[in-house]
């Protein structure tokens, strides 16, 4: 049996004939950009999971945690409906909050998002950077 890795979304990205919206996620820490295919109306969290992007969604889109925090481009952010109070409350606690932060489970894909870049906040301190502090050879 395999560990089911991703819990939201239908499990696979759209096929080319579904006329997918194409955009990218960026793991900010590794500066690693991954292109994804999305269906209009899917949430960014669903898109992430369908495309095997590492974005948690601990509460399964029920607006109880902020594990799916993403950072949007200003232009995209400005054109979205304002977040609900509940989302704002959770964003207050999000790691690495920015002025264009949203929860991935609350943002739905539109055609206008074609080509956008969604940043994933860098996860933790990077210990490779401080390698000299570590005695890596026992």
């Amino acid at each position: 049996m395999q560990v089911r890795q991703f819990s939201c979304g239908i499990g696979y990205p759209p096929k080319p004939e579904e006329n997918p919206v194409r955009f990218s996620f960026l793991y900010t820490k590794e500066n690693d950009k991954q292109e994804v295919l999305a269906r209009e109306g899917e949430t960014l969290l669903e898109v992430a999971h369908n495309n095997k992007i590492e974005l948690e969604g601990a509460c399964e889109q029920s607006l109880a945690c902020s594990t799916c925090h993403v950072i949007l481009e200003e232009e995209i952010f400005e054109n979205l409906e304002s977040p609900k109070e509940e989302e704002e409350d959770l964003l207050d606690l999000a790691y690495g909050l920015t002025l264009t932060s949203r929860l991935g489970c609350q943002v739905k894909v539109t055609r206008a998002m074609e080509g956008m870049l969604v940043k994933l906040p860098s996860n933790t301190r990077n210990f490779y950077v401080d390698k000299n502090k570590l005695d890596l050879h026992k």
Partner: protein
């Protein structure tokens, strides 16, 4: 993915969020690595089961994610009802010999104390953990609700500390207990809560409004409970807003400033202000149906007063505090004018923080009550890292933070594990179930995933009969009987 195909075996001690997130990271990013998860309880999920309040079912959805990990029985095994490092359990050294790596994620099973002489002996004084254990149906130190809580005679209550645990307790006690019915609060708990006549609840913080420990989400939820009115004392609010505190809520001071600012604004708009003692007396003694929640600030409990005959708490004496120190590092110190006051309470809950306990054979920082580590790799007594020995969650960074923090922290621990795997710093193992069982005392029955599924389905079935998601089994022996 980890760039290594070696057959590593990992033991994770503790099956709460930290343990599961570590396990998930390891399994997801490797091919030939297997994970065994140990827990002292016969049930998995730690505080998701016994910490997350029963009226927050959306938060308990994470259990599903964790259950998926256990379902991968080829690569993940569960050893419930097994102690490690303490209580006549498996010694840490033995576990480390048996596995390529051991991750300690057993959390915080103890709590901080007020430091007042009679806090252990007075009736009606409990820790937040005891309260949460009670309404969450934990197998640990269950209160006797008739004797200890005496809810039918409870009119005034105080909670010391204002974190989210204090908010959970407040909400559970202020809410109509019928609203808990559909979820997994034990039926005896709901029956007790039905008797409750709570009128005045004071939640007491040492520092000011801006340093409140609860999140806006929790206080907003309380403010929406039917027949509940929130209050602050004008004087305490005003004195909380010194220059340093206002600077703390300013943009750019901290990523959390926005939250502190929004929360303070919310409190200002939502709470009614109390301007005089007379007004306070009127509110606490009014005969309407409204339940009052007083958010008190800059107050420190200095004495627990009791009824001599019953030895039960009836008042707490508070000392007025003032803020001192630099922006972001303000402390509460006694007001030089030595201003004291008393509030009535027939129940007092200490909610000033959980604490981890040390286990034998592992270095422990007794100041912070955490295990010294570097990026999650445990340090020995000389401060050297020990590849193959790791820590995650509250035991690593102290007992606070929401689930996101634990997730990020487990990812950090996984990164160092990954690094050690790729550097060939770990030994390959093929740990069998028999080898593990040999280490468990013969009178102790371990619980595997199949066993847990039996317990789980009994609880769900009993719940279903009463229109609930689950009826928790409250006694460990009863749980073990199901799998005999």
């Amino acid at each position: 993915m980890v760039r290594s195909n070696k057959e590593y075996r990992f033991a994770i001690v503790g099956s709460g969020p930290a343990g599961f997130y570590c396990g998930k990271q390891i399994l997801k990013n490797t091919k030939n690595v297997r994970v065994d998860i140990f827990d002292r309880n016969p049930h998995p999920f730690g505080l998701v089961r016994t910490g997350v309040a029963p009226d927050h079912p959306e938060m308990k959805k994470i259990e599903k994610d964790y259950q998926e990990i256990l379902r991968d029985t080829e690569r993940c095994r569960f050893f419930g009802n097994v102690w490690v490092g303490t209580n006549n359990g498996i010694p840490i050294e033995k576990l480390r010999e048996l596995y390529s790596g051991v991750v300690l994620a057993y959390g915080a099973t103890s709590e901080r104390k007020l430091g007042l002489p009679n806090e252990e002996s007075l009736r009606g004084v409990f820790s937040s953990r005891q309260m949460a254990n009670w309404y969450n149906g934990s197998l640990d130190d269950i209160l006797d609700p008739e004797q200890d809580l005496d809810l039918q005679n409870l009119k005034d209550m105080a909670i010391i500390g204002n974190g989210n645990v204090a908010m959970d307790i407040s909400r559970v006690l202020l809410k109509n207990p019928k609203l808990l019915q559909p979820f997994d609060a034990p039926t005896p708990v709901i029956e007790q809560l039905m008797k409750l006549k709570l009128k005045n609840l004071s939640v007491i913080g040492r520092r000011g409004v801006i340093q409140s420990a609860f999140t806006i989400k929790e206080i907003r939820e309380i403010s929406r409970i039917e027949n509940v009115q929130l209050y602050m004392f004008r004087e305490e609010y005003d004195q909380s807003r010194n220059d340093q505190s206002i600077e703390e809520t300013g943009a750019g001071f901290s990523p959390l400033s926005r939250g502190w600012h929004r929360r303070t604004e919310f409190l200002k708009e939502t709470c009614k202000f109390i301007d005089s003692i007379e007004q306070y007396q009127d509110i606490t003694h009014s005969r309407n149906d409204t339940k009052n929640l007083f958010l008190r600030y800059l107050q420190n409990p200095i004495e627990l007063l009791s009824n001599q005959i019953s030895n039960r708490i009836n008042k707490v004496r508070l000392q007025k505090m003032v803020l001192e120190g630099e922006v972001g590092h303000q402390r509460a110190v006694p007001d030089p004018q030595n201003i004291q006051s008393e509030i009535e309470c027939q129940l007092l809950v200490k909610s000033i923080g959980y604490q981890s306990r040390p286990i034998e054979g592992v270095t422990f920082n007794s100041q912070t009550c955490t295990i010294p580590h570097q990026y999650g790799c445990i340090l020995d007594k000389n401060g050297q890292i020990q590849p193959g020995f790791y820590v995650a969650g509250w035991l690593k960074r102290g007992p606070n933070g929401i689930i996101d923090a634990t997730l990020r922290d487990s990812v950090e621990t996984f990164r160092i594990i990954k690094h050690h795997m790729e550097c060939d710093d770990l030994q390959e193992k093929n740990t069998t179930v028999e080898e593990v069982l040999k280490l468990i005392p013969s009178d102790q029955k371990s619980v595997d995933f199949i066993d847990w599924q039996k317990i789980d389905s009994v609880e769900k079935k009993r719940g279903e009969e009463h229109g609930k998601t689950r009826e928790k089994i409250l006694v460990k022996e009863d749980m073990l009987k199901i799998i005999k």
